[in-house]
Subunit: 285 residues, 6 copies
């Protein structure tokens, strides 16, 4: 008793940094959210609520207690200074990669993925991205701002280029964004996960960054987000997709856009936590 | 800057009345609601929340910005005087029809559909009704009251007569109501949308009034309503049905029964807004 | 007017105890809940909200008004004394069985099923159990406590033995629990209701106790529970399963784990009420 | 066990009608509410929550268990038919008065007070009214409707006449209403309870009807109401005022305008319940 | 009917811009909020909820219908670009001042006051500020950022200098901030409004900017804010203070920090609306 | 970066155990709560929300950063086994006292105070208790159970005896409880804090245990509790009382009964956090 100050981690993420091969951390930033902010609280609330889960997955027949995962807590990010916040995330991911570990980030709004993808790309120039989302996130800018949660994938494209980005579940965007994607810039699957199997097969052996905007799920499954967009995929769809990814070489990943204040029942937080657990177990080798 | 007093419309409904071919308006009445009132706030809240949507529909490949839709705001309806409220709605719909435009009403409780259907029927005596709902709404009366949200379709039958009303998704009602419908008074499809395609085909060229009680959706999709009735259709079902209606000649329509105070997450309001957007785009010629 | 003090029952459960063949009652106990308590309020809230339903089921074409069901209200259970509370439940169920009636209990947490199953087992030594749940509930103990909501089925196995317990929809538990079940102690179906038809056929003519932990439903359908576990069955699945059970000889049953305070929209309570109605109509002969 | 169907009363109101000298009942009507409806649920929720109280008042050193109070439950009132609803209330109050008992009504919106005051006036032509409220409720009509929650006291004046109505705590109304009162029609005290002692003294020996719109309390104390109006009295003020009324001959009374859906914490319902308890104990002789 | 697109203003703010002497507008910015964001929705929600008020103030015996106030709606501000947002606010206020009108801004977070004060200062170099708040807002910077809601008054001091800023109700801040104020930079009154009368007297005839952070109120009165700080003033205190300001020459003002999503009951929004009404009536000459 | 697993403490409680003179810890037990459970989450939520405070108190002119306080997190307590839970708390407090430190416990329901008081009494046989509460907590038993949150002070009296317990703010209880106290067993002040100064003076130099049930506050100030009891003290009252206690020798203390799920706005949690901060600063020597 009383040895340590109170430690609070995502369930079963109790490895030390040194021993861990996966590093979980929160990126509590929601500064460019246009509709309803609040994703900054996601990682903190998920740590508390993750104890409603078991560490064992009957889907994967794996148990988190068999793996070495470190939870480093939330990064300290300056609100109201987007550039500094993104820089801090990029630095954190670089450190993790340099130390030979896999970064697993919990957002925050989707813009936090940009510096993470960038850091991974710098280490893995052959990087491919799998992107689950309700929204295209391909805007050139938002009210003149090039750095925004609705342009995050477009900004990643700026350095990744054509043919590297695979989008699934997309059901909302400007007409121009869908057109731009269709011109060959990204592989965009509308409404559902059709073709995911083929994409996964084609990416075998290549370094992959996986970014899951949880609003890819239908709002019935995941109401707790800033911009609920009806018509999404089910939890079964998402869980099946994760299982399918066991063969991939995921070198970095994130789960973003839980906004706990819109989740009165706690069901969305439970979905986010279970998604993280399944991902943590899937990426272990 | 500062030219006009603050204007608040449903997203992209920025035409003038004169130029519009569709007139959106709210009917904030919930005076006969037996269970949980509050639908009177629906249209007002939907205007605010509609900005979480995009104006473009990837389902229909159409954009609201290409059409002329006017949002006239909410009618002023006297609470506690059902008759005056219904008369005011009837007058509003008549004016819109007389001016050669299509009325699109946002309820309020379902009783608001009655005067709208009546006004349409007076202009189009060959009117047919498509009715999506969890509830039969075919009561002869409710505690002695003939005018009630649970008898609205029965009251429409009073003037439309047999064979004009097509009900889908129905899963709640008195035994007598189901019997009465089965005697040939309405075409009632239980539980789902089976036969919708055939109904649509048979109505080609005829004037149709479409009334969607959003509680036809499962409460998982649409909890924000006065009387949630489990076992409903999915958003995919509803969205597919709307797309199917492109061939119909819808001369008036409504979407009713969102009760925003039971929608803490905002997901139900998002469903209502997206339904309205898809309908607005589907009925355009 | 003013003949009786205010009576509050589940809708259409207005028989006297003497005339009733089914006795509905609440067991407001949640003393071993590990995550989020509050199921103690379920029965009381369900009585109020049941009036949002109709008494007629279009699924079964039966009407509650044709049957004799008594609602005895909530048992008075001492909070903070698990043993006394369980004893009181066991006594109540014994009395009902002795009087030749069928007990239908509304929980409360799942541990309340234990004394009910025990009382039924004492009258029907050939008892079989059908168990719908997200969780295995097969722990040997919880933090050293053998009596806990997460060990309730294991405790029932203590006296029922192998081959009597049929579990469906299970998607969460310790690795050991799944292993233990797979050793032949229970018939455990993971994730869904596969094989339910075969189980029902094999139990024809045998006395069956049915215990439904409502968290077997997906949290999108039923968020209002203490431990939401994503990936569950739909309401259609549950409703179909109930209908399938018409041929069974259900001699006692319960519905547990609604936690109304996590059900801001009321949709979960509506699901619980409709489940109870469908069960009440299905078990009538 | 199992003698009676489930009985649900306000705490300690367990007398039979015959033995009771006070008859508590609910009037679940909110049909003319202009802003946020929902007071129809007040009495039902208060019965459940009253068990958070004790039956003993340390303020009055009296215990409810020493008195004979009957809780007759909620009247069945037809939604959407104001006239019938008001008639039903008037009949109920007349019956109670004819039977030599004191009526204590729980609203509902404030309009329910009108038929109750009327029935009392018919038995006691010398009736005086004490009215606690944030709002004047003296409108001639509301959007042309003479019967409305915002004209209830004006309608009572129609038959009571000048000098009979004493208003306290008033802080909202039309300029005309304040003027009209100031012309001598009612004794209106703005903002607080100044002069209440004098009023009580002057009414000694006369029959008094007490109507308390709970929004007289500051919204910090009582947020759970349709039209929160900042600047009200404290609970201490209200409790002190009730105690002061021990010397009055209150022959009928009501407490109105709790809207439980706006009371997430339950604090407003607790205030309403404690107010009812203190009143019930104060009026006993 | 149907002349105009739907207009939505704060109650009785229906003047045209040209005729108005006061211009109400919203500044929906919360980009530097450190704790709980969401003040961006305040003005929009207040417009809707203001209709729960009357236009007449019995405190001031004035009626909004007698004055010419224009509601210009919310400014369009780019999220995620603090500098542009502040510039847009400064421009708006300058335009209003240039046109000889009085700006009345509804925040948003407190940082929006900075450009408004600056614009007023440029027109009125003799400007004094009265500042009601729970927090000092005097930080030199926040995590290195000089522009933040917790440094807004310090930034205003940068150009106003010593002796111009009068702070009331302050009960939270860094030790350094209190020290810095005490060195003579601002007149800071801790905990309450002591000395307000003297301050008002001393400012007679001078141009005053009034900025009210509503969290100066106790959280019991005003829970709906990002950083509730117990121990604040009552609504009576605030209302009395406003009345006292009738003699001042307020040339610009704002009311900030309502966060509607933390105001489930609506009571905080009602407080904000009534505060705005009383201010609007007080500043009219 | 990444040195430690994520540490989560109450703001500024970052000392090691060894260096600390005060040990803060949570006792997440609510197993005997009769009305609305949920206090088990209080300490965890307070740690998160405490960052909305500053570390400096302008009331006391002290800063938490100047003191050595250790936050040991929540004890692991077995739900559903009252005896083991109470034993675990007693052991924890004993250890702290043995190590020469001061225990500061955050409940949990009030019963958690019993083992803490007991452990303190064993070290300090001359112990006196100051008890702030809305409820007497002096029941001999609750439904036959001697160990219950409503008998906690009576159980403490069992070993402390007459004249050692000083109760303030009490406004709810059985008639028998008030009588029993009045017989000289405890010093009970009804409704408010009258006589606190005298009590403090009389206890100078004696070891004091302070237990604050936060429901001593009025529900307007502190709605987030299981049994809101109107008519309580204000935050100013409580803050003043704490300041008054600077002269006492408080050798152990607790703050209990925050139930975060009834605190949608977060205001109650803020009150609890600020109370803890003020207490932590007051007890430092």
């Amino acid at each position: 008793m009383w040895k340590d100050r109170n430690i609070s981690t995502f369930i079963a993420c109790e490895s030390t940094y040194k021993e861990a091969d996966t590093v979980l951390f929160g990126a509590p930033f929601d500064g460019t959210t246009t509709f309803r902010p609040g994703t900054r609280f996601a990682a903190e609330v998920m740590r508390m609520e993750s104890y409603g889960l078991e560490t064992y997955s009957p889907y994967l027949d794996r148990d988190m207690e068999d793996y070495s995962i470190f939870d480093g807590g939330d990064l300290e990010l300056p609100f109201g200074n987007k550039e500094k916040a993104l820089d801090a995330i990029e630095d954190a991911v670089k450190t993790i990669l340099t130390d030979g570990k896999r970064p697993f980030m919990i957002g925050g709004e989707h813009l936090v993925s940009l510096p993470a993808i960038k850091a991974c790309y710098e280490k893995y120039p052959d990087l491919h991205v799998i992107h689950f989302d309700a929204h295209t996130d391909l805007r050139e800018d938002y009210m003149g701002e090039p750095l925004s949660h609705s342009s995050v994938i477009r900004r990643a494209w700026d350095f990744l280029g054509d043919g590297r980005i695979n989008q699934f579940g997309i059901r909302s965007g400007l007409r121009e964004e869908f057109k731009w994607a269709a011109e060959g810039h990204t592989n965009l699957t509308k409404f559902n996960l059709e073709g995911l199997k083929e994409t996964i097969d084609s990416l075998k052996g290549k370094p992959v960054y996986l970014t899951i905007d949880l609003d890819v799920l239908d709002p019935s499954v995941f109401p707790g987000t800033g911009t609920p967009e009806p018509g999404g995929i089910s939890f079964h769809d998402l869980q099946g997709a994760i299982k399918m990814m066991e063969t991939l070489d995921i070198i970095g990943l994130d789960v973003v856009e839980l906004a706990p204040h819109y989740d009165q029942s706690g069901a969305s937080t439970a979905v986010a936590c279970k998604t993280v657990r399944e991902l943590l177990l899937t990426i272990q080798k």
